[in-house]
Every structure is written in C-alpha cells, then in structure tokens.
C-alpha cells in the first residue's frame, strides 16, 4: 500500500490528508501523476502540482516505493 500526503487544495480535492494506492502501484513520479489525474480529474484544472519524495522535490523519473514519504505539493503560496 502506497500512502500519499495531500496538502492545500490537494486535500480539498481528495477530501483527505492521506490517500492510499492499494494495487498497481506506480513505479515513479510520472506514474503517480497519471494515477492522480485518472482518479481525481480535478487535478487537471489546477496549476501544476509537484511531487515530493522524502521531503525533496522529485522529477518525473524519480522512482517511488511504499517505503517512501510521498506528498502532493500544489503551487505554494507562503510569505
């Protein structure tokens, strides 16, 4: 089971602070993004979200596994 943290508008879209993927786990960030857009089409209407793996921004090729800390990072707006 892969656990994904959701923040900001991502939490509103999924209605949860964590979502889980139980089967056909994506093997990298690109796969996760496709999974998200398929299961939550509302992500398509957002400005580009990033994915963080173990608290670092990760590009599409970054591999992911169930032991990683994975998070959806919508466009930030601190300050």
């Amino acid at each position: 089971m892969m656990k994904i943290r959701c923040f900001g508008i991502a939490k509103d879209i999924t209605s949860q602070a964590f979502i889980t993927i139980d089967e056909q786990l994506p093997s990298n960030v690109e796969g996760l993004k496709l999974w998200l857009e398929k299961n939550y089409p509302q992500f398509k209407s957002l400005n580009k979200c990033m994915i963080a793996v173990n608290q670092e921004y990760a590009d599409d090729n970054t591999p992911i596994s169930t032991s990683d800390e994975i998070a959806i990072i919508p466009p930030v707006s601190g300050g």
């Binding site: 900001g8 400005n47 998070a71 990072i73 930030v76 300050g79």
Partner: protein, 142 residues
C-alpha cells in the same frame, strides 16, 4: 531548527520582530536587513477577513534551511532568522519575518530578498484567503 547561525521556525503564535533581530545581531556586523510580510486586507478588489496557512512542516523547514545555506554561500550571510506563521492569521498580523546580518549591507539586502523570493517559489506552505463571501487557495488555479 536552530543551528549553525541559522534559526528557522514555523509558529502558531504571533511572530516577534525583536526575537528575529536579537538572533541575528552580531558584533562584527554593520548591517541587518529584515523583511516583514503582513496580511493585506484586500486582494484583487475583494475584502480579506483572515488567512489560514497550511504547511508541510518538516519539508518546509528543510527547504528553508537549504535557502539559508544558499545565502551563506552566495552572500556570505552571517546569521539568518526565518519565522513563518501557520494556522489562522488575522489582518495586519505578521505572516513571515526574515532577518539577515552581514558584514556588508549590500549583501544583507540581497540575501533577505533572496530568501523571500525563494520562499514564495518553493517552500511548501499554502495560504487560504478568507473573503467576506468565501475562501480559496492562493495560486492554486490558473
């Protein structure tokens, strides 16, 4: 996170300019520059009643630490203090304080501006603005 002349905090209570100032003051420094970001009462013609900041706190602190390290490298910053609010923030309240001390003032200005520019670009903190007629996540939609 307080380490190596860098003080980074994400706090639920009122921020204190004096606390940040006291942290960065250094006898060898001639100049301290502070940026204080406050909550505006208007955005795009709408009345803002308050804000709510959500943070991915562990990553935000990590990212702010990197930004601070970059300042030491790029601008030879002496000490940095970066405090950011989380949770409910009222109008006129301070959302963020960045304090930087340097031997030369020009580099203190450059470093302080670098921190706020980078913070707004890459630190995982999200601002929800509450208007009189609703609320929305800033920057989220085109």
């Amino acid at each position: 996170m307080v380490d190596n002349n860098i003080d980074i905090q994400i706090l639920g209570d009122n921020l204190s300019i004096d606390t940040c100032y006291q942290y960065v003051i250094d006898e060898t420094c001639g100049g301290i520059v502070l940026f204080v970001g406050t909550v505006r009462n208007h955005n795009k013609g709408k009345d803002v009643t308050h804000l709510d900041f959500e943070t991915y706190e562990s990553m935000a602190i990590k990212e702010l630490s990197k930004i601070a390290d970059e300042c030491v490298e790029k601008f030879q910053s002496k000490k940095l203090s970066i405090h950011h609010r989380k949770g409910h923030v009222g109008i006129k309240d301070i959302a963020v304080i960045i304090a930087v001390s340097s031997i030369h003032r020009k580099k203190a200005f450059l470093a302080c501006e670098y921190v706020i520019d980078q913070l707004k670009e890459r630190v995982p903190i999200w601002k929800k603005e509450f208007l009189t007629d609703g609320s929305y996540w800033v920057n989220a939609r085109p």
